[in-house]
Symmetry: C2
Subunit: 449 residues, 2 copies
């Protein structure tokens, strides 16, 4: 809501060499690192931009709070974020959440400022409102830090691959869940126990819901899909399954297949119900072969694997979170938008021309790994195979293991060819009904073949 009357002309040329006024909104994990780097690298930044960057204020909730790790004049801290954004050429939003971040960004742009944000939740929920405002004000809106922290991934997808056709993105974009799954793989421990370890080590929050339930990854998947496919995908469009149901048994089943379990953000070009182009965007745990480049992403690292028609497979790897790494991405964006203000022009705006429908999860196709506890007698395999065939799910391999010490029981491990999620779910229901099947012990999607 603009209330004042003095309007800046955003197209007004920047006076050569004059400082660019930078406002920082938020001074927590990311903001304090941004402030430090702005101060520590002031000379380099000025040389790279062609003009000095002048920090004109830092908006926080508690401006009186001592912040010894932020080496700036304490009078720069203010609770008046609304006022601050009106005095800046560049606004860095690292408050997070939807409100007041959205209002502040809109206000900043309306006053002619370019905006850099790390706010995946906001971009994924309401990106189009922000893009439209950036266009209307003829300013930049950059947000590299919103996905995969320090890893340059949005700029490569948006710019380097702008002449190519991205077919598929598979991302490990949440460090907490990767840490937990990696530990479960190396230690054999269960989910709950491993989350506690992760909390103790600072890799998981006290309330880990946003991470372990896949909400964080889903927001990033929405942003990745929008940019990769030149379309609009918001968090609500993303199918989401977290890792809370992943058991030590699933991890062991993956090991037996020479696979690891990862929480993946998956964006794919697919054929829609009407035969036209569409996209599938989903977050769920999946087995991937140990030979896949994503399999060796350990600890809390992130990586994004991209397949493009001409470029072929690409992978981008690095730290997905943390104050300094995230601030590196923020400052890369700050230099870019600052250069545009010095030299004229803007970076690429939203490109949603392809306007592709998002298919429902039932139509997404993956391979599946299903482990069944069955009776060990003739005819059981035929019954099981018939259930798959009845739902048009084609079996790639099947392996029978005698269950040790239980003469009449066995384990059947079935890996399917790619099938629709709906067909798979129906097959699993039918299997559970079979008299010869004691238990559908584990069902896991398989990706990255």
């Amino acid at each position: 809501m603009r209330t004042d009357s003095e309007e800046m002309d955003p197209t007004m040329a920047h006076e050569p060499g004059a400082p660019l006024r930078v406002a920082l909104l938020g001074c927590g994990v990311v903001g304090s690192a941004v402030a430090r780097q702005l101060v520590d690298h002031a000379d380099d930044l000025a040389a790279r931009v062609g003009a000095p960057l002048q920090l004109v204020g830092i908006a926080v909730r508690r401006p009186q709070r001592p912040r010894p790790d932020v080496p700036v004049d304490p009078t720069l801290f203010t609770a008046d974020a609304d006022g601050l954004v009106e005095r800046a050429d560049i606004v860095i939003e690292v408050i997070g959440g939807i409100d007041p971040a959205r209002e502040l960004i809109l206000r900043a742009m309306a006053h002619g400022a370019s905006v850099v944000s790390a706010n995946k939740a906001l971009l994924a929920e309401d990106g189009p409102t922000l893009y439209a405002a950036a266009d209307a004000a003829d300013v930049d809106l950059y947000y590299e830090a919103a996905v995969a922290g320090a890893i340059p991934i949005l700029r490569p997808i948006r710019e380097s691959l702008a002449g190519d056709d991205v077919r598929r993105v598979l991302g490990i974009v949440n460090g907490t869940t990767n840490f937990v799954l990696d530990r479960m793989d190396t230690s054999g421990a269960g989910f709950a126990e491993t989350v506690e370890q992760a909390q103790a080590l600072g890799y998981a929050e006290a309330d880990p819901t946003a991470d372990v339930e896949g909400f964080d990854a889903a927001a990033k998947a929405a942003i990745l899909a929008s940019l990769a496919f030149h379309t609009r995908v918001s968090s609500g469009d993303v199918y989401r399954e977290g890792i809370t149901e992943v058991t030590a048994g699933d991890i062991q089943a993956a090991r037996d297949m020479d696979c690891v379990v990862k929480l993946l953000a998956i964006c794919e070009r697919v054929t829609g119900p009407d035969g036209g182009d569409a996209v599938s965007v989903r977050v769920h745990p999946a087995m991937i072969p140990r030979s896949h480049p994503l399999a060796s992403v350990r600890d809390a690292f992130n990586a994004v694997f991209v397949e493009a028609s001409a470029a072929g497979p690409l992978m981008f790897y690095g730290r997905g979170a943390g104050g300094d790494p995230t601030a590196s991405a923020v400052l890369g964006d700050v230099v870019a938008v600052a250069r545009h203000r010095v030299a004229g022009g803007r970076g690429p705006g939203e490109s949603a021309y392809a306007d592709l429908p998002v298919v429902e999860m039932g139509r997404s196709r993956t391979r599946y790994h299903i482990s069944l506890d069955v009776a060990d007698r003739p005819g059981v395999l035929a019954q099981v195979a018939t259930a798959f065939a009845a739902h048009d799910v084609s079996i790639e391999t099947v392996r029978q293991q005698a269950a040790p010490g239980e003469g009449e029981r066995a384990k059947l491990i079935v890996v399917t060819h790619a099938a629709s999620d709906a067909a798979l779910a129906a097959t699993v229901d039918a299997l559970a009904e079979l008299e010869s099947v004691d238990d559908v012990a584990s069902v896991l999607r398989v990706e990255g073949a």
Copy 2:
């Protein structure tokens, strides 16, 4: 050499929606893929740029030659490259080599065209001349495809990391040598035999000199160092050792250390002789631990590992060559420079403000792995250790192996702490002189610890 008088005003605004005229220089491996993609993706490219791209001509040596794989009007082919560049808004140079590529690029820029090139040799030899011409003409000069083919690496270094401090770049930037070293590792075969296999499979040229002697990697190292450190490094500044001397024994020595041998392009910020900032830029084979992300780069793939102060470790992985992958990078650049023509502005120009000296190889510091054939008797280890100490080279580990079947001989394997190349070379000379040392069997640098 400009000879005509009608000059285009490069700052002349682009008429909204009017096509941008694209000239293609060269139609070989890369050029033919570029032409195909320009045609096949015309609609997508127009949507992403905001104006259609119109191919106005293709300059080749032999315009009459039938090119059935290039789906364009045959009258577009011309031998008159000089004339063609004067009729274009965007010139794509994929001829290669120094001349006439340099003259054509300069002529194109003088006529107001932006230029996209894949020419690492030219950029590494004479980049500053081209940058100066781009500045003078106020046009873009982009060359993502010149390093690591399809992998977006120059844009991330130049733009995404513009707010950070790059400390070190370790790149596998030559597919041929990576293929050869990877095969030597898996097969145990020697260099010459493996190069023949690579030639038979199309991974090495009939004359493999540029690849196996490290010239290609050295050009890429110069470009990477210039961008990463905001300074000027040309191919001539790069210390270069190829892989022709790498033996099956070296590869085995690496295996014994749980390492692999890779040809690395290394760019490092170091302290210069005067105590000031400087850079070390070099290409040589080196052992790296199998646990390092670069170690799992197989076949002819490329990858670039970057360490930045705030971002931490990053890795970029993908195909380093081939028509389609390289064309993907070229077209990404074409879209960027085309957008600038539509919307106004330019991308980041040369940034050589840091102007850092390149240290000579003798001052570069690495760890070393040295394998010695020695007499197996008391006092030998003391003699060897003394030779290291005399040159101020500190030993990290030493391991003695009895040489099987040779009672009085043994193998000593020494790994040093980081030491200057000059000190190391002097140590090796001194070791070779020792009466108890039969042979300095292998000397390999160790990186990526």
